[in-house]
């Protein structure tokens, strides 16, 4: 029994006892690797996730909506920052993580590869996409790694506010003119299935989620979370007089759950492979921002060094 195994066992008991793992604690290398992958992917999703909603800030239909949407997208940038910092506590380097995103090596949540062609999509994203994200992330607030859990507590609070905003936009449209209601229905038609796909493949097809469950990084299975989301969201749609685009959707009295149709997993894997309408467009935009900003970052570093120089001289002269 190598010392390594012994440590791993003690680590497992530590985690089983619902203790928080902190940056300077010992952790299995695979635990650290899994967390860096998950946290950086989550950070990338927040940053790329800004783009489909930022698409409507300049065209928001009222000043109130423009301010609320800009504030929301700014929050997402903030979430990205929290998460990159959390990953850095695991000795991940932010520039490397950003390079991996820009080169296409690192993944981000493929929901953001769908376009937002109408204002109603902003309502649908808040209501459905943030809704699914919250369902996925609430458990992360109790994840075993301390910095990630603390970041998630802040993020979840803001996400639920965003989610209410999205639902409120959809409600305003659904209770507005026939054209507005049609716009809301059309957005629901386009965002319903992709939101269900956000919970990932069915349990039987999710290889590494078992290990994450063991390490209490993940607390519930994909299908469980998805079912919770459906049960919560269908009544919300009915309340607005909107129809869920699933002919197999049926309330099951005994199970106390909605039965739903089969997810088109071919589309799911196709978008993950890079074939969504906006995969290329998103990375082009992030690469352009990065490249156009290179001279700014270099200037900021150069200036900081000069300032440090000047301070050293001043203090040594004093």
């Amino acid at each position: 029994m190598t010392k390594e195994m012994n440590l791993e066992e003690r680590f497992q008991q530590y985690v089983d006892a619902e203790n928080k793992v902190e940056p300077k604690d010992w952790m299995p290398e695979k635990y650290r690797k899994t967390l860096i992958r998950q946290i950086s992917q989550h950070a990338h999703s927040e940053v790329v996730g800004m783009l489909p909603e930022a698409n409507w800030i300049t065209r928001a239909p009222s000043l109130r909506r423009k301010v609320a949407l800009l504030a929301k997208v700014q929050d997402e940038a903030g979430h990205g920052l929290y998460l990159y910092s959390a990953a850095e506590t695991l000795a991940a380097d932010r520039m490397d993580m950003v390079e991996d995103l820009l080169s296409g090596k690192a993944k981000y949540s493929s929901i953001f590869n769908y376009p937002t062609p109408t204002w109603a999509d902003i309502g649908a994203i808040g209501w459905l996409v943030d809704g699914a994200a919250i369902a996925n992330q609430v458990m992360l607030c109790r994840t075993s790694y301390g910095p990630y859990a603390r970041a998630m507590v802040k993020i979840c609070k803001e996400e639920s506010f965003h989610q209410r905003q999205g639902y409120e936009i959809t409600m305003t449209l659904a209770q507005g003119s026939p054209v507005q209601k049609q716009m809301a229905q059309d957005a629901l038609n386009r965002w319903w299935w992709p939101s269900l796909m956000m919970f990932g493949p069915t349990d039987d097809a999710s290889p590494n989620s078992a290990q994450s469950m063991k390490w209490k990084i993940k607390r519930k299975s994909n299908d469980e979370l998805r079912q919770e989301f459906i049960d919560k969201t269908v009544p919300q749609a009915e309340f607005l007089g909107l129809t869920i685009p699933d002919k197999d959707l049926k309330w099951n009295e005994e199970t106390g759950h909605y039965e739903h149709g089969e997810i088109d997993w071919e589309e799911f894997y196709n978008v993950i492979k890079g074939n969504g309408k906006c995969n290329k467009q998103r990375l082009i935009a992030r690469n352009k921002a990065h490249d156009d900003g290179a001279w700014v970052r270099e200037a900021a570093n150069a200036y900081a060094e000069k300032e440090a120089e000047r301070r050293k001289k001043k203090s040594s002269a004093a």
């Binding site: 065209r59 009222s62 301010v67 920052l81 150069a302």
Partner: protein
């Protein structure tokens, strides 16, 4: 008097709205995530001020006008923002240069408006002065950081300041409405502000190792509804939805 007050309020409101709209275009596209957030903050402050001023303008106008009727149902010739603010963002240097020239002005302007005899305008000034003071500080720091950063950043920020200089003069042009508002103790004395502005700008440009440009001519007309070709495209984008469904509520 009522009409002059409405025009004066719209000038302040249009400045905040058009600048807020231009800054919001950066959201998701900034050079560094931290600055994407910082610029969105400044845009949010400007848009917040725009809402208060548009609400007041709507009140002054009466006939059930609203902040959104003001913002989404006026055409190019009815907008009164400074031409400097409707110009395209350009690169980060151009955006910072504009912020610096305008924020410095806005700081001195709103400091004056703290003593405005009009309750609404004074209230807006009291609410906004903290934000505006921070904006002026933030942009001055960035001008210094770019001016005294690398050779490339020095050149870009110098070019940006040079290109925008001819558009800065309009900030200090007093017309009949400005005079009337000054006389009534409501508006600010732009000539006094001009002196303060030049002093502060010269100081910061020195710290940034940058030259202060000379201009024998300054563009103007925005305050009077005579705009560049940029505003029309900005409004076409900004106003599209309410123009498409004018009766709808959002």
């Amino acid at each position: 008097m009522q009409n002059e007050l409405l025009q004066y309020t719209l000038r302040l409101g249009d400045n905040a709205l058009i600048l807020g709209q231009r800054l919001a275009e950066w959201c998701g596209h900034g050079p560094i995530l931290e600055q994407d957030i910082a610029l969105s903050n400044i845009a949010l402050d400007q848009l917040g001020q725009a809402r208060m001023l548009m609400q007041y303008a709507a009140e002054l106008k009466g006939s059930e006008s609203t902040e959104d009727k003001m913002a989404f149902f006026r055409d190019v010739t009815e907008y009164n923002n400074l031409l400097l603010l409707e110009l395209e963002n350009g690169d980060w240097g151009k955006t910072i240069a504009r912020q610096f020239l305008f924020d410095t002005y806005n700081y001195f302007l709103y400091t004056e408006l703290l003593n405005s005899k009009d309750d609404h305008i004074r209230a807006v000034a009291q609410k906004a002065i903290k934000e505006i003071t921070y904006h002026a500080q933030w942009s001055a720091e960035w001008v210094i950081r770019l001016g005294d950063g690398t050779e490339e950043s020095h050149e870009r920020i110098q070019n940006a300041i040079n290109d925008l200089w001819e558009w800065s003069g309009e900030m200090f042009t007093m017309d009949a409405i400005d005079e009337a508002m000054l006389k009534a103790g409501i508006g600010a004395d732009l000539n006094k502000i001009k002196a303060d502005w030049h002093e502060k700008v010269s100081m910061i440009l020195d710290m940034a190792t940058l030259e202060k440009p000379e201009a024998d001519w300054f563009q103007s007309g925005g305050k009077q509804g005579e705009h560049t070709e940029y505003l029309g495209f900005l409004l076409a984008e900004m106003q599209h939805l309410p123009r498409m469904y004018p009766e709808a509520s959002w």
